[in-house]
């Protein structure tokens, strides 16, 4: 599934009838962005180091987001 399709699922086609639909959508979009950031970071490191099994440490993205105020 492309990134656009992933966002589309939450932004347009899901049947949210709740009062807090907007914040739920925002939370899900953040999950997709986080997923993308982690996958991309791991991909880059694997490319540079050749370490195919490289995995980012848990909570590293959270630390980064906190540091940058994201």
């Amino acid at each position: 599934m492309t990134l656009k399709e992933k966002f589309h699922q939450w932004l347009r086609t899901e049947p949210f009838n709740l009062r807090d639909a907007v914040s739920l959508r925002e939370a899900q979009c953040e999950v997709i962005a986080d997923e993308f950031a982690i996958e991309f970071a791991e991909w880059i490191i694997k490319k540079i180091t050749g370490d195919r099994l490289f995995k980012l440490k848990d909570n590293l993205l959270e630390e980064f987001k906190k540091e940058k105020g994201l």
Binding site: P15, L24, A27, E30, V31
Partner: protein
């Protein structure tokens, strides 16, 4: 593709499958039962290899679990919901935010257990121990439904799931060939929702 961890649900004795309780089959076979007018009473979660691809489907799965396990308390339900929503456990294709999880659990727990969750109509129900291969099951579905000359949306969905289980791409043409009808008949009986489901199943291959 990660393997779906059903062992956890089994260990916790969660009921996620139940056959029809009131509807009687029109015909019974060694491999299972045929319901000419269809039955809505059969709940068989996680029967195909396809993972849960959408929010709507995820909420339905959680609702069915809540319905099939009336003795389950709120804490046990939360535990199961969290497990299913964790992408690493192989049930869903997407990660679920904490906020969405909380909202879903709240909504599901408000549902009236006397009212069965909406369910797709099924005409053919295979026995768990029937030992047929997916190809053989698909052939039976095509033969039995073809005989009735009425291809419904649920029949198409059923064939779509088996085709996906075989690792094959679902096309209108192969569905039409399967039921011995025209592509137009398939198009006519496919809602937009089912067309979207077809795309999602094909993407999961």
């Amino acid at each position: 593709m990660s393997h779906r961890n059903l062992e956890y649900l089994n260990k916790k004795r969660v009921i996620y499958r139940r056959g029809p309780i009131n509807d009687k089959p029109s015909e019974e076979f060694e491999w299972g039962s045929f319901y000419e007018s269809g039955t809505n009473e059969c709940y068989e979660l996680f029967r195909s290899k396809a993972k849960i691809p959408t929010y709507k489907s995820l909420k339905w799965h959680l609702y069915v679990i809540w319905y099939l396990n009336p003795d389950m308390d709120q804490n046990a339900f939360e535990d199961i919901a969290r497990f299913i929503c964790n992408k690493n456990n192989g049930f869903v294709t997407f990660n679920v935010s904490e906020q969405l999880l909380q909202s879903m659990m709240y909504e599901v727990s408000l549902k009236d257990l006397d009212e069965p969750p909406y369910n797709k109509t099924r005409k053919i129900i295979f026995k768990d121990n029937c030992k047929l291969t997916v190809t053989e099951k698909l052939a039976i579905v095509g033969k039995m439904i073809g005989k009735t000359k009425k291809v419904s949306e649920s029949d198409i969905y059923e064939a779509m799931l088996y085709t996906n289980d075989l690792g094959k791409k679902i096309t209108i043409k192969n569905l039409a060939d399967h039921f011995g009808c025209t592509s137009r008949t398939i198009h006519r009986n496919m809602s937009n929702e089912l067309k979207k489901e077809k795309e999602l199943l094909n993407q999961s291959l």
